[in-house]
């Protein structure tokens, strides 16, 4: 879970609404804090930019959740040695 706060300066204005998956909509007022799934929080921050800030990433050691795999046709590609992902250091303070 990640706690997201709607910024006090309210760059989107009073009472904007975020449309979360599964009809879980959030009506924001300045300084309102809401717990979101890590994946939802990441996607909200991506489009919401400066309107939102991370208050607290619970279980902060959890690495970045895997992105939704986009359906792609399987295509033969050269074999390569996979380097381990260097995730886990991108959490915002």
């Amino acid at each position: 879970m990640t706690t997201i706060r709607y910024a006090k300066s309210a760059p989107l204005g009073p009472n904007p609404m975020s449309e979360l998956p599964g009809n879980r909509n959030v009506l924001w007022t300045p300084d309102r804090e809401v717990d979101l799934d890590d994946e939802d929080a990441r996607r909200l921050l991506k489009s919401g930019g400066s309107a939102f800030e991370v208050v607290e990433a619970k279980k902060a050691a959890t690495p970045r959740p895997p992105r939704k795999a986009a359906p792609r046709p399987s295509k033969a590609r050269k074999a390569k040695t996979t380097t381990p992902p260097e995730g886990g250091s991108e959490e915002v303070a």
């Binding site: 009073p14 609404m17 449309e19 991506k46 489009s47 930019g49 309107a51 390569k80 995730g87």
Partner: protein
């Protein structure tokens, strides 16, 4: 079997470009619930070669300009109107009549805020795209008491991309301005683009980077094989500009580059650290969209008031009408360039032409006589919505026509019912270029002016 796109899931989100024309920005995306139809996708056109072969067959067309008509109709509340009125008019004067109430007055000075939009549009689950350099040239409103006011915006999109925006995958750099990408990826099945910083600026020197297309994390061999690019900073601006990555379309009859932009000057690029890796997925995921107002908190502007007087007369006279329209026309001219099929310029070159109509029961000859005598008149269209908190103010949009000319007037007796008079008028100026029309918006929303982004 794939799922086809439906109109119910169409999404449009916009934000003003604070990094400059066609360069995106940092403002949060605001999503809008469009009234259908809506059009926001870049579409290539064909230009017939004009040849007729002796075999009496026709050769293939040349690839024509990639045009992006942007048509968007949204419910106009005072919150939603502001950003678009600023975009069309340019000049905004903001005052605070009382605590919690803001007043914005818009006059046409297009050079004062040359704003443009970037954003996201999708026809899920089939197509999602980011676009840049959107300008609207026209806004149409239909006013009627007791009905929601919709605003129809018409314009053009300049550039777009079906790549996801960049995420920083690894590295300790704090550069957050980009990178941004635009253009078509030649082969999306080969994976997304990975950008690696090779040399970071010390604040005065150039930065270099490499680009690799890969389905999974590139290995050392991939990076070694990739050519090194220097972040392009034209000396004329001192700010990063679009440059080719080599992953676009560059075939015999076509040329549409996939470009990357590292916004900011060399000092901003010093936030990069050698080894930072940014990744753009080849497929855009659905963002979580935030709407600037909710249906529960923002009602329409349902009360229409109309006022008229002769030019310079002291007193307004209220009159009733069944409906009224306003059209703000500040035309955009699309400009093609060399080296790309996308528009390189959308210029606000045309004349400012505000027009309107009034439809009312034909009860007096006030408009008819003014038209016959070719007298200029003053008009006011006023839309009033909910009260703002416990103040004496209400959400209001007021359109003041300092000088309007009646350009057409009809009053046909169409049937046995009431005779309806339709008055068409246009804003007029004088030798000094005085403002034909001024729009005042009273709202509770603290709007950030384009100049302050």
């Amino acid at each position: 079997m794939s799922t086809p796109a439906t109109g119910t899931r169409v999404a449009v989100a916009l934000a003003r470009e604070s990094h400059g024309w066609n360069r995106g920005g940092a403002e949060p995306l605001s999503a809008y619930r469009p009234n259908l139809p809506v059009s926001f996708l870049l579409t290539p056109t064909n230009t017939p070669g004009g040849l007729v072969l002796q075999s009496q067959t026709t050769p293939a067309d040349l690839p024509g300009p990639i045009t992006g008509a942007a048509d968007l109709t949204i419910r106009a509340t005072t919150r939603e109107l502001l950003v678009f009125l600023e975009h069309l008019f340019g000049k905004v004067v903001k005052t605070t009549p009382t605590a919690g109430v803001k007043q914005y007055v818009f006059t046409w000075r297009p050079d004062e805020a040359v704003s443009s939009f970037w954003g996201f549009s999708s026809l899920p689950p089939v197509i999602r795209q980011y676009f840049y350099g959107l300008r609207f040239g026209k806004a149409d409103f239909a006013f009627q008491s007791g009905q929601v006011v919709n605003m129809k915006l018409t314009g053009f999109v300049s550039q777009g991309s079906t790549l996801e925006r960049a995420d920083q995958e690894t590295g300790t750099g704090t550069y957050a301005l980009g990178p941004w990408v635009r253009g078509p990826l030649l082969d999306p099945d080969e994976g997304g683009l990975w950008f690696k910083i090779i040399v970071a600026s010390d604040g005065t020197t150039d930065s270099t980077f490499k680009v690799v297309q890969s389905l999974d994390t590139p290995d050392a061999g991939d990076w070694t094989a990739a050519p090194t690019h220097t972040i392009y900073i034209p000396s004329s601006t001192g700010e990063g500009d679009w440059q080719d990555t080599g992953f676009g379309i560059f075939e015999a009859a076509d040329k549409n580059l996939l470009e990357v932009l590292w916004p900011g000057a060399k000092a901003d690029h010093s936030d990069l650290v050698a080894g930072d890796i940014f990744k753009c997925e080849a497929v855009i995921e659905d963002p979580i969209l935030t709407y600037p107002s909710s249906l529960q908190t923002a009602f329409g502007l349902q009360h229409l008031g109309l006022f008229r007087r002769d030019l310079g007369a002291p007193d307004w006279e209220s009159f009733s009408a069944t409906s009224s329209t306003l059209s703000i026309d500040s035309p955009i001219t699309a400009r093609g360039g060399n080296g790309t099929l996308y528009y390189v310029g959308l210029d606000r070159l045309g004349s400012f032409l505000p027009t309107g109509t009034i439809v009312r029961e034909f009860g007096d000859t006030w408009f008819e006589s003014r038209r016959e005598r070719r007298k200029l008149i003053e008009l006011r269209q006023e839309l009033v919505g909910p009260q703002i908190g416990s103040t004496a103010f209400r959400h209001t949009v007021r359109v003041d026509w300092a000088a309007a000319e009646i350009t057409a007037q009809t009053r046909p007796a169409g049937n046995a019912g009431l005779v309806s008079e339709t008055v068409t008028f246009a804003g007029r100026s004088d030798d000094s270029g005085s403002d034909p029309v001024t729009v005042t918006v009273i709202t509770d929303y603290g709007f950030t002016l384009f100049a302050d982004l």
